[in-house]
Symmetry: C2
Subunit: 322 residues, 2 copies
């Protein structure tokens, strides 16, 4: 099959071996896949991953459990053992033996087909298009912010970064009724915020320091945490959504002096993300910048690294006729 494979460099392979589902796995035919910052970090060495890239997908089950066959699905990315202390204590996303689709020890979805655990699947309702469904994984990650740091209407909240993740987090948090600002560099994406009634601010502008109750760092840029620590109030919370390939030069003294809480946040609840799309609470389509066929996957990765673009998709197989 065709696949975007990361070894030392990313290459497009027209004839990569088809995946063989293991016990408990289904085989998906991938319709659309999304490129996220983590994919770009992996191509720069993050996680030391080798194999098929990609973890944001929508597809159709073509082999495996008969209950799922023919169904259009999205897929959680952590493949877990259900036996370790983390799994048994309700933290399966932190399974000690986990593999992560397209990130660690498990081939991903930038390919014609991907084998995934049946228990990771979620049905896509008919009212949600492929172009919307491919956002479920990052949208779930955006919903995770509110799980780890419950946002109340009385709170002042800032989102740092108006890229892919920042725009999703901003829309999710706008639903909480808090006072919200998004800080970004890209005028085009800040305009998307304004259209949704979310206050947007340039990172170059003046701002009152140390006044926000919660700041969500979504920029993935080395200066993002520094800005977040300037914005957050003493005893406030910074939620860290971004991962970096390299060690950034950070000064955490302001976090100690301000007794700030920094909370790392990763994957989130798929059901909430799907329901938000069903109810049209989150607008993902304005975030689509370009869609590339998988054969032009390397070009797509370059486009995703360009800050002028928001979301880049890979069209892999036309949606099965239904």
């Amino acid at each position: 099959m065709r696949a975007l494979v990361h070894e030392r460099v990313v290459r497009f392979d027209r004839d990569f071996p088809d995946p063989v589902p293991a016990e408990g796995e289904c085989l998906l035919e991938v319709h659309l896949a999304g490129i996220c910052a983590t994919d770009l970090e992996i191509t720069r060495g993050y996680m030391g991953f080798r194999g098929v890239l990609g973890h944001e997908m929508v597809g159709t089950v073509i082999a495996g459990s008969s209950a799922w066959r023919g169904k259009r699905v999205v897929c959680e990315i952590n493949c877990v053992c259900q036996k370790c202390d983390m799994c048994l204590s309700g933290l399966a996303a932190h399974c000690r033996k986990r593999t992560v689709i397209g990130i660690a020890g498990h081939d991903g979805c930038f390919a014609d087909q991907v084998a995934v655990p049946e228990r990771n699947l979620h049905l896509v309702p008919d009212s949600v298009s492929d172009e919307e469904a491919v956002f479920v994984e990052p949208l779930a990650a955006a919903f995770q912010v509110n799980k780890q740091c419950p946002i109340e209407p009385r709170m002042n909240v800032a989102v740092v970064g108006s890229g892919r993740l920042g725009l999703l987090v901003a829309q999710v948090l706008a639903g909480t009724g808090c006072t919200l600002e998004v800080f970004g560099r890209n005028k085009k994406t800040l305009l998307l915020c304004e259209k949704k009634g979310i206050m947007s601010r340039s990172t170059d502008g003046a701002f009152a320091r140390h006044t926000r109750d919660v700041v969500v760092e979504c920029s993935g840029a080395p200066g993002g945490l520094d800005l977040a620590l300037e914005l957050v109030r003493p005893r406030g919370t910074v939620v860290l959504k971004s991962t970096y390939a390299g060690g950034a030069s950070l000064n955490l003294a302001p976090a100690v002096v301000g007794e700030v809480k920094i909370v790392g946040s990763r994957c989130g609840p798929f059901p909430e993300a799907i329901q938000a799309l069903v109810r049209k609470q989150i607008d993902v389509l304005p975030m689509l910048s370009k869609t590339f066929p998988i054969e032009r996957g390397l070009e797509a990765l370059d486009a995703a690294a360009d800050p002028e673009h928001v979301k880049i998709l890979l069209k892999i197989n036309p949606r099965s006729s239904r």
Copy 2:
């Protein structure tokens, strides 16, 4: 008066102007003062402070309110406005207009006399010696860990660093009944832990990764947070007690992947620290390495920077006869 003054370099001044207490301030004659890592960081440029160094002290009130005159006291370090949003919301230690004794905008206690707000004073009970009382400020900071991250007996807790602060934090946490280990490099200080029945481990040894519920970073070393992030379990908490002058090269990706909470922690409750000394719950005297007269203050600062030493004190004025 004599004073250890930090301008661009630290110098000993035999004839520094005596402090003049402002409205609401008392004048203390300093008996003993302690040198801490923050003092060393300040001499390397941290906070851009200029003035008399020092914020750990025990002394006698020699001028100011008659209620306090002649009393032996210790002194909180944050001088606050009592009017800003932080003060009015119960977070006076984070006062927007605060000065901090010997750290920011307020001369410190490495001098014959220091002027301090009356409201910052705490009486030292007779059963607590000067050599013990001078530990109240850092011991209060150690008690703050349990305020910001309540430790329960079921928890696995690690302290990173067996220096001045690490040994105080370890003793405070030992009182919670949790399972406790201290990681350090210095065999002498690790031996102090063993004598108190606290498990000690070399940072060079092997250890199970990602298994501690809470890790308290007290090393002040750039690698301390990296080790803490290796020790802490997914969704666990790292309490950050150390401040650094420079930006360290940190990789926070493990905090995001493990959804770890990093909590900055600073000053703590003086009354609890004083009571712990009265009840002999905390042994501070074995931590004393050397005491220097103020005239040899520069030598004392050098000694405090030597990892072979634990606590270095400055003897400034002999204790008033009582």
